[in-house]
């Protein structure tokens, strides 16, 4: 008898502890669930609305059509702006990496006067409001005739690309084993050969990581581009923003189709970057 009640008491105790644990975790799960539901809701409504015939006050759209999406692409020349965004961002990514890999190497390996001051200079763009340097850049570019040109767009992207790739690359180089470089030099390799044969191949994961990171950041760059872009020379997100800020001019499904055209490449790049980083981890792990 006594043993039985003991087990029952134990079981009740266990059950009660389980309930207490559940009640303690409940607010957290409600919070996380609620936040995720809002985010998913926002994403799904953009999708649904972009492909709806009309949608007012009901839970579900009245009907589905692709005509808004097609119309948005033909009327706003989305392909043109998409191509322009892709080209400027890609060129700027390559240029920033070419420029910052040697610099990052020097920062990781060498000591020189004013090192901390210079490192601070590379980080300063993150600490200042973008407008503080974007406005004078715009004024200077208009004076030089660089504003509203392809070259101008590429150059201002470097403002994002160089500091970010430096900050990402330095720890990657610091993690490399310097003995390999010493060995290469002691075996008679000159510095260029050492750099291209020893440092760069080891650095491929770091370069890939920073390329993806700055590409996504530059693709979403906004403030400077908005200031220096003209009606024909602008990136996709600035074009979408100008349509959106002129409120009431377009029906909602049209605006959603535009937004979707901006969202799809971003999603694609994000999945691509996740896939690449996983692939790199596997490769480096081996």
């Amino acid at each position: 008898m006594r043993g039985g009640s003991g087990i029952r008491r134990k079981r009740r105790y266990k059950w009660r502890r389980g309930l207490a644990k559940f009640l303690k975790a409940l607010p957290f799960w409600l919070l996380i669930g609620g936040f995720i539901l809002i985010i998913l809701g926002m994403t799904v409504t953009v999708f649904l609305s972009a492909f709806s015939t009309h949608w007012f006050g009901t839970v579900w759209p009245a009907g589905f059509t692709v005509s808004w999406f097609v119309k948005a692409w033909s009327e706003y020349n989305i392909w043109l702006y998409f191509k322009l965004s892709l080209e400027t961002t890609l060129i700027a990514t390559i240029i920033s990496l070419l420029l910052s890999v040697p610099g990052a190497y020097v920062f990781a390996r060498k000591d020189f006067p004013l090192k901390h001051v210079l490192l601070g200079l590379y980080q300063l763009p993150f600490m200042l409001p973008e407008l503080a340097y974007a406005l004078p850049v715009t004024a200077i570019f208009y004076k030089l005739g660089l504003a509203e040109t392809f070259a101008g767009l590429v150059i201002v992207q470097l403002l994002v690309g160089i500091p970010f790739s430096m900050v990402i690359l330095i720890p990657f180089i610091e993690a490399l084993d310097p003995r390999l470089e010493m060995a290469a030099q002691s075996l008679g390799a000159n510095r260029l050969r050492m750099f291209s044969r020893i440092v760069v191949p080891q650095l491929i994961p770091g370069i890939t990581a920073s390329a993806i990171n700055i590409f996504i950041r530059m693709f979403g760059a906004f403030v400077v581009i908005l200031l220096i872009s003209g009606p024909r020379m602008q990136t996709l997100n600035v074009m979408v923003f100008s349509v959106l800020s002129a409120t009431g001019s377009q029906p909602q499904p049209m605006l959603d189709s535009l937004t979707l055209s901006l969202m799809l490449p971003l999603l694609l790049f994000t999945f691509l970057s996740m896939w690449v980083s996983r692939w790199l981890q596997r490769r480096v792990g081996k």
Binding site: L31, T43, Q252
Partner: protein, 290 residues
């Protein structure tokens, strides 16, 4: 001696490798920044040094009111974001089923950016959108809430993006803390709350305030959500809205840059306050020596 000399020569040559990345930065960042400071000291179109722009900023309501309007939007939302994101990250720390997916979904707004979040909000929070339909159906409100094209529109947008940003940083921070500290506290008889207040929080408070400061910096520059889901004519007339207006509509770069400089000063004051709070307490490593 010889080795020393050649070392010196090499050292100088290697430092030259900095130039490819340094020169562009000097040309498109530092030079314009200095030029910008000079811009603020000239009246638009006139020559000669003057404090006219700064005097105008503090005299004209349209300019000066950007300070309280931005702060009242950014500071409360930043605090709310920190509380919510901290609760989420704290709960999802350690082994939780489906953690990767949940983390990815919470950081998702960061991938989308302010523009897409703003459009998603228009669809989701509009008077006859899913959010209001749900609230009315449950019976929480009798008529739809006006959550767009006013203060709350920008507030919600900032909160959604800020939670994503703070959460993504907190995940890394909390992972860096050795769980054996907490286990030690628990085994010595502290309850969950005590462990959190006396052990866990002191270990990460410095990092938490850093993330808070970074988030405030980012949010003080709010622009696109203030335009698209806010009311840029009155309640969300923040720094960037007025600065862009001066630059793009009136071509008054001098005044626009003055606003940007004031914005930077406000930002540094905020950073100073956060730094002051952060310094009062343990600042140091939270991982064990391995």
């Amino acid at each position: 001696m010889r080795a020393n000399d050649s070392d010196k020569g090499r050292f100088q040559k290697d430092t030259l490798l900095l130039l490819p990345s340094l020169l562009p930065l000097l040309l498109i960042f530092l030079y314009p920044l200095i030029q910008g400071l000079f811009l603020t000291l000239h009246k638009n179109g006139a020559s000669g040094f003057t404090l006219y722009n700064y005097i105008q900023f503090f005299k004209v309501r349209n300019f000066f009111n950007t300070i309280p309007r931005t702060l009242i939007l950014v500071i409360p939302s930043s605090i709310l974001e920190m509380v919510l994101a901290f609760a989420m990250a704290y709960h999802l720390r350690g082994p939780v089923r489906g953690k990767g997916l949940l983390n990815g979904l919470i950081m998702f707004p960061l991938t989308l950016g302010p523009l897409i979040v703003a459009v998603g909000m228009i669809d989701f929070f509009k008077p006859d959108g899913w959010f209001n339909l749900l609230l009315i159906h449950v019976g929480l409100v009798s008529r739809p809430l006006q959550l767009l094209y006013n203060f709350w529109g920008t507030f919600i947008s900032l909160t959604i993006l800020g939670i994503g940003f703070i959460f993504s940083n907190l995940v890394g921070l909390m992972d860096s803390i050795d769980p054996s500290f907490e286990q030690a506290a628990r085994s010595l008889g502290a309850n969950g709350f005590q462990t959190f207040v006396k052990v866990f929080y002191p270990l990460i408070r410095s990092g938490v305030w850093n993330i808070f400061a970074l988030n405030v910096i980012m949010q003080l520059a709010v622009y696109s959500s203030a335009i698209i889901v806010g009311n840029p004519a009155s309640s969300t007339r923040v720094f960037s809205v007025v600065a862009f207006e001066q630059a793009m509509q009136y071509f008054n770069y001098n005044m626009a840059e003055t606003i940007a400089v004031v914005m930077a000063i406000v930002q540094f004051i905020c950073l100073g306050v956060v730094h002051y709070i952060r310094k009062k307490g343990y600042v140091g490593s939270a991982s064990t020596f391995k």
